[in-house]
Symmetry: C2
Subunit: 522 residues, 2 copies
């Protein structure tokens, strides 16, 4: 019998992203003629006649460098040995399972049972599933109307799953959560789009965003035709968020006639990895309340904290602990099943908790959600699981904790190893990744490198990232995709390659950097 675990391990060893086979019948349908025909297509739609907001939108995390990496990967597959590396290492995106992280067994057991509930009637089921997975599957099926996991749900998500998520939030925060405040979504991205769509009327509406920021925000603001109002995080204080900077940028935007509608805060930070201190969060809440801004809190990395002296606090907990309720602050918290120790990116689950909006505005949010009917039910189930994992005494509890701790402590070690490696490079400084999944080192590039980049019409950090990829197969995203203080250059690198690969990555990185500096040193 062919075995999944062995097969998977073999592929990981061989470079997991190089081993996908073609569907056997693919050659029948994908003729070279069909592929080539695209270029000869003319048609009524041209770059000059499409929505200019689409043209304006950029999404660096899957931008030009990633397309180039995919081309290299195809070349490696067609012609092994054609490049000075054997595999492409995708450090461009927070996609843990693509780099070999294993899913939490309990979560997958429950998903499989909910996908095919007739398994519950099979007498062999207890041989294949843990008892608490079976119990949890029943609990979930019990709250799904008709036990139909293949039906559209309520547009906010299945009520019983929202109850469970609300209970999880309440347990996390120590303050009540209302299931009617939850909108379950296909990952956090559609939730962010929904809020931007609601808030942005024209380019005169602004959204305060950190710089550097996760490019979903700039892309979504561009697609909805608004203005991104930047506030700069302070690299010299570990990407500190200063209220004085928020005030300055808010006033500056207002003086230009921009109506600033919301403040985006990413905590833990992406790409910057800092974890906000409680006192700082209180100031932010106070600022939004005073200035009448919606606080859009991206809290998708709430489980990813790697330092002992920092702790995640949700903005809702902070606001409630200050005595502020629904009438004081409009607050939206985004959460996703893609991050944390679970890293279930492909499941597209997530939610937003929407508090402090009037009933009639909430109805409008509901209406927009209803146009897409509902988010996928597996993702909804998974969101309920990550907010209610196994508890002490459950059969899965001990293995669950071992899997979770194994992932989180390994991520902490990887973050530290890569941070140290970056800091050891000539002209590179790198803040600590206190949380999230990224390092965002600053490159102090020699003038010669900057000139060389100019000559090929590339930003200096894009030039560096492209060279790194072509030499080592490591894919990182240039800082220009996230925004940075003008004249400074960075790259974003995930901490996600499996731990046994880190030493090799570090030595490839060091060798590349040395030779790059050698070539361009002033």
């Amino acid at each position: 019998m062919r075995r999944f675990a062995a097969e998977r391990a073999k592929r990981l060893l061989n470079g997991c992203l190089l081993s996908s086979r073609s569907w056997p019948s693919a050659s029948l349908c994908s003729s070279p003629a069909a592929a080539a025909s695209v270029d000869s297509a003319a048609g009524p739609v041209t770059l000059d006649t499409i929505n200019p907001k689409v043209i304006k939108c950029e999404y660096a995390v899957r931008g030009e460098i990633v397309s180039h990496a995919q081309r290299l990967q195809e070349e490696l597959q067609m012609k092994p040995g054609s490049h000075p590396f054997e595999e492409i290492l995708y450090c461009n995106i927070g996609n843990p399972q693509s780099l070999g992280q294993q899913p939490i067994t309990f979560f997958r057991e429950v998903l499989a049972l909910c996908d095919h509930p007739l398994l519950l009637d099979n007498s062999e089921a207890p041989a294949l599933f843990s008892s608490d997975a079976i119990e949890r599957a029943w609990k979930i099926l019990d709250v799904i109307p008709g036990m139909a996991t293949g039906a559209y749900s309520h547009s906010q998500g299945i009520k019983g799953l929202r109850d469970a998520i609300a209970a999880g939030i309440a347990a996390r925060d120590g303050f009540p959560a209302n299931p009617d405040d939850l909108f379950l979504t296909d990952g956090a991205s559609p939730a962010v789009h929904m809020m931007m769509q609601l808030l942005i009327r024209s380019e005169k509406d602004g959204i305060l965003c950190p710089i550097p920021q996760y490019p979903l925000y700039s892309a979504s603001i561009a697609l909805h035709g608004g203005s991104l109002v930047p506030y700069f995080l302070d690299e010299s204080t570990g990407w500190g968020l200063e209220i004085s900077e928020l005030k300055k940028q808010l006033e500056d935007a207002r003086s230009k006639g921009i109506t600033v509608r919301a403040l985006v805060v990413i905590n833990p930070g992406n790409p910057t990895g800092q974890v906000l201190a409680e006192e700082n969060q209180k100031q932010i809440v106070e600022f939004c309340k005073t200035e009448g801004l919606v606080l859009l809190a991206d809290e998708v990395y709430q489980e990813n904290i790697y330092v002992d002296d920092k702790k995640f606090n949700s903005f809702k907990k902070i606001a409630r602990s200050m005595g502020y309720g629904d009438k004081d602050l409009s607050l939206v918290s985004f959460q996703s099943v893609s991050k944390g120790y679970y890293g279930e990116c492909g499941k597209r689950g997530g939610y937003m908790e929407v508090t402090g909006f009037s009933a009639e505005v909430r109805e409008q949010i509901y209406k927009v959600a209803s146009v897409n009917l509902c988010s996928n039910i597996s993702g909804q189930i998974l969101a309920s699981l990550v907010m209610n994992p196994p508890e002490a005494g459950d059969e899965s509890y001990v293995p669950y904790i071992a899997e979770k701790d194994g992932i989180l402590t390994s991520l902490a070690r990887r973050a530290k190893a890569l941070e140290d490696a970056f800091n050891s490079l000539e002209g590179v400084t790198c803040n600590k990744a206190e949380g999230a999944m990224y390092l965002f080192p600053r490159l102090h590039l020699p003038n010669k490198a900057i000139e060389a980049a100019k000559a090929v019409k590339a930003a200096p950090d894009a030039f560096y990232a492209r060279r790194l990829l072509d030499t080592t197969g490591i894919v990182v995203v240039p800082g220009s995709g996230f925004g940075q203080v003008p004249g400074t250059w960075h790259i974003r690198c995930t901490i996600l390659p499996q731990e046994d690969k880190i030493p090799a990555i570090i030595s490839r990185l060091k060798a590349f950097h040395e030779s790059f500096m050698e070539e361009f040193r002033d």
Copy 2:
């Protein structure tokens, strides 16, 4: 041991939508105070300050009447016997599994194995899964990079699954399909939004849409700020689509300064149920080619045909059979796992096949897709399955065919029974449902009823639908939500209640209609 099949059957018998329980710990988190707080929320965001496009957008299929139905359902749960019916029958939306349709076993087996592939290593697996489900799961895992079903995929969807879908399309049409033309999406709705986002620059851009239409189109055009250019289907010829009408409306729109960019055709029709004849499709293709319009072909009901003399032909097959290739016609075909005999609405799977666009425009579509990273992997897998079901000789083939034929022949009987019932009502005429999942009967309402509706500021068909719901528990959507010739009134009713419930529905419907006419007869 508690048994799923028995439990599910019991719930169906009792009215499947009334039986969902609360999550045990829900009472801890959902305090009345929290629920009430919404109304007291003020905050910086009001109806006057949100995006007016959001306000303008309407989505009748989940509109006011459905909210009312949900309130009635809650009342029935809290106080059984409080209404003259025991359950709410949701005939408002094409959501088969919510009304008791069972999923195709083979599809669910494969999904469960892909969700938890370690099952493949268990020696008990062959006791729980069919051999071809196991084989198919391996085939799918083999084409997923790293066999990681929890990773973000390529933004268009996993390449190997697109290969499989392209092979399925090629087998359906007899013309090649290119996997690079496929964009896998969370159901068809996000695909439609993507195309509207691409094509609409301002209210000066128009999209030709059938009237009646599926309100996703009007909602999406409103959200993206374009103009819906209506063309009327001819009810007297079974909702015929006349090219002369298309031309007239196109010219009329152009004379008003509207740039018409695309033509939406829904085939089989929603809400109208007609299946287009091949000759008619050829005329439509010719019209789009001549007029330089993108043809947006909603083909999600391609498996739902109930009459022997009609057959589904994809617009791509029609165009290719006319000798038209990529350079002649810009064509987008939408498909979904939510419809057909599979009806897997909750899985949110689907794709669009994008042909006849230049490489640079396709790059823009890819960019927009990449902002949301990818569609959910289970939905992607399911899309590959519905386009490649079991084949003769496979272990699952015989039960698969039995399940499929059982569903489709039953749907055909239900469509006929409900069509006959509507036609038997005084002042009601109803075209045949040749395909799709709906009937769209016309109500010739007495003046008194129209006056009574006016008095409560309701459209006459909304007034009728509300009365029907309050009296019988049957939820239908007023025709005004889909558009109709001014002065005519319709309702849309799905054919989806389980067959054993149809006689009772028909007698409730007849009794209601008689008493309604009795009350309002002129």
